[in-house]
């Protein structure tokens, strides 16, 4: 199974990972091999089979609507790359 350079570039954009030109050939090979492995799935007969999203047959527990969290801004922002006046900073976003 081959994956095209175009697909790799498109997916890298979706995943927000910068790729350099030199990395593409290796990725074409490696991702191609992985997808060949994965293609084995197509041989399976899955008609009328429900997808399994969770291994346990359980339903969601709901939480009571009570405040349990306090202000921990100082602790959380002590480990942040860039903050000012309590805000997280990123390069200017043009909407």
């Amino acid at each position: 199974m081959t994956i095209s350079r175009e697909d790799i570039e498109k997916v890298a954009v979706l995943a927000r990972i910068r790729l350099d030109e030199e990395q593409i050939p290796a990725l074409e090979k490696d991702l191609g091999n992985i997808l060949s492995l994965v293609d084995q799935l197509s041989a399976a007969d899955t008609d009328n089979v429900e997808p399994l999203a969770h291994p346990l047959d359980a339903v969601q527990r709901l939480r009571a609507d009570e405040v349990t969290e306090s202000n921990q801004r100082e602790a959380f922002q002590a480990i942040a790359p860039a903050t000012e006046n309590g805000l997280y900073l990123v390069p200017r976003v043009i909407e």
Partner: protein, 485 residues
């Protein structure tokens, strides 16, 4: 002391022959002296550990000691430890010091255990050889005497190695596709992956949410049971946590195995297994027959699709779980980002290693428009078929037994040229994660002087039965006590 199990050390501490401070000092000194050749630790918390050991001794003096009070151990560097660097083996989190504990971490604190540090691992738990860590590969103690640098297995290679090298008696670990069982097998120690939902995932850095499970590693089944007693339990902070009572996992260790029905999945005894490996595994099974087990062949008809299904589902979930690593709120951030897109794309290109990036790309591809049905949805359907295979098998037998890995510990670099070659290391372990059933790896023999593991797979929430089976085997064999030179 360093050769003693947790159970034994606990008795030593209780008898007063040694203090936790002395014990902790001994292990810390061993780590300092020996770990250079293994690289099994990313962070050693000397000061914290000594303080915790002192506190444990004070607890004991006050009459408040339990089994775990003052016992040295370590956490795989995927468990968030408040105030202590938690890296997941990645550059992306090299500077991440969480202001919170994982639930598992808190549990061990509550019982007074003394954490000596954070063990090395494949980056973001993606790997089977511990060669992808940003902090350098881990070297298996087995094979070193021959001058060979072999892999310890992965992703929990650091925990497995540190235990095998007697640097710590026990360590926490995680298993998503075999990451406890395979390194346990390659390092000659005992490891257990519990039923999905048995151990809280809160504070475990997520790789694949529907597959990840925190588990235990030590040298004996009894120690694994003692660990599971601390780790298991319902956690309201984890929606996938099973709301189910926790038994005392040590309580049935000594039950005789007479009448235990054992199934050998024929798909796991195929030509992927070398004759030498197969011989060791079958010998171990014969030992079980001597203990009273009734062995027969069973089938897991869709076992051969497990790897394919896993390498869609796990990367797909991982691709979303790792989107939060963007240089904004914590972790690595590239220098001088020119704009938002540059911030994201360069932070992630520089912060993640090669295997992580490959899996994110595969996962993103599998979820993308046009491919979702053929890949993700298809894989989830196959997953149900695989789960059904186990459900059916457990109608006939109590446990399944199989090899853990197709080969013993291989040499570093041997399988890194093609990702798929590495993925095939997990052919015997991966179906277990897809189904969510519990499984163990116990030392069962040697091939060319390298440890071989036996996998024991149980039905949902039957960890006690697995530990019982493992413990009985360890009463009549001594593979688990073998030391690397």
């Amino acid at each position: 002391m360093h050769k003693k199990s947790v159970a034994e050390l606990s008795r030593e501490l209780e008898s007063g022959k040694i203090s936790s401070v002395e014990l902790t000092r001994e292990f810390l000194d061993r780590i300092k002296a020996e770990d250079g050749q293994y690289n099994s630790f990313i962070t050693v918390t000397e000061d914290h550990s000594m303080a915790d050991a002192k506190a444990a001794d004070e607890q004991r003096a006050a009459g408040n000691a339990g089994i775990w009070t003052g016992i040295p151990f370590a956490h795989k560097d995927i468990f968030c430890t408040k105030g202590v660097a938690t890296t997941a083996g990645s550059k992306m989190l090299a500077n991440f010091v969480p202001p919170y504990d994982a639930t598992v971490t808190a549990n061990f604190r509550a019982v007074g255990a003394v954490c000596l540090g954070k063990t090395n691992m494949d980056e973001f738990a993606m790997g089977s050889s511990n060669e992808s860590s940003f902090y350098g590969p881990v070297t298996n103690p087995w094979g070193l005497s021959n001058g060979e640098k072999r892999v310890p297995g992965g992703s929990s290679g650091g925990s497995a190695t540190a235990i095998a090298a007697r640097l710590i008696p026990a360590a926490t670990a995680t298993d998503t596709g075999g990451s406890i069982r395979q390194p346990a097998a390659l390092c000659g120690i005992t490891g257990l992956k519990p039923t999905y939902g048995r151990v809280s995932r809160y504070g475990i850095i997520a790789f694949a949410s529907s597959l990840d499970q925190g588990g235990t590693m030590a040298r004996t089944a009894e120690d694994n049971a003692l660990m599971l007693n601390v780790m298991a339990g319902f956690d309201p902070k984890d929606s996938t946590s099973a709301d189910r009572a926790v038994p005392d996992y040590t309580s049935i260790l000594n039950e005789p195995l007479k009448g235990l029905r054992v199934g050998l999945p024929k798909e796991y005894f195929s030509d992927q297994l070398s004759p030498a490996m197969e011989e060791q595994v079958r010998n171990a099974v014969k030992e079980y027959e001597r203990l009273g087990a009734i062995v027969k062949e069973v089938s897991l008809p869709h076992a051969n699709l497990a790897i394919a299904a896993y390498y869609v589902i796990a990367p797909a979930e991982a691709s979303a779980n790792l989107s939060r690593f963007d240089g904004v709120r914590y972790g690595y951030r590239c220098e001088n980002p020119q704009d938002l897109n540059d911030l994201y794309t360069r932070t992630r290109a520089e912060g993640f290693g090669g295997e992580v990036k490959r899996r994110i790309l595969v996962g993103t591809y599998a979820l993308s428009a046009g491919y979702f049905d053929a890949y993700y949805l298809k894989a989830q359907k196959v997953r149900r078929l695989i789960q059904q295979d186990f459900i059916n098998a457990f109608k006939e037998v109590d446990v399944l037994m199989s090899p853990v890995s197709p080969s013993p510990a291989f040499v570093q670099g041997e399988k890194t040229s093609d990702p798929v070659t590495m993925y095939l290391e997990d052919i015997f372990t991966i179906a277990v994660n897809l189904a969510g059933v519990p499984a163990m790896s116990i030392p069962a023999g040697f091939v060319d002087g390298l440890p071989v593991g036996l996998q024991i797979i149980g039905n949902y929430f039957e960890e006690a039965r697995l530990l019982n089976a493992a413990h009985q085997f360890q009463q009549v064999t001594d593979w688990h006590q073998k030391l690397p030179q």
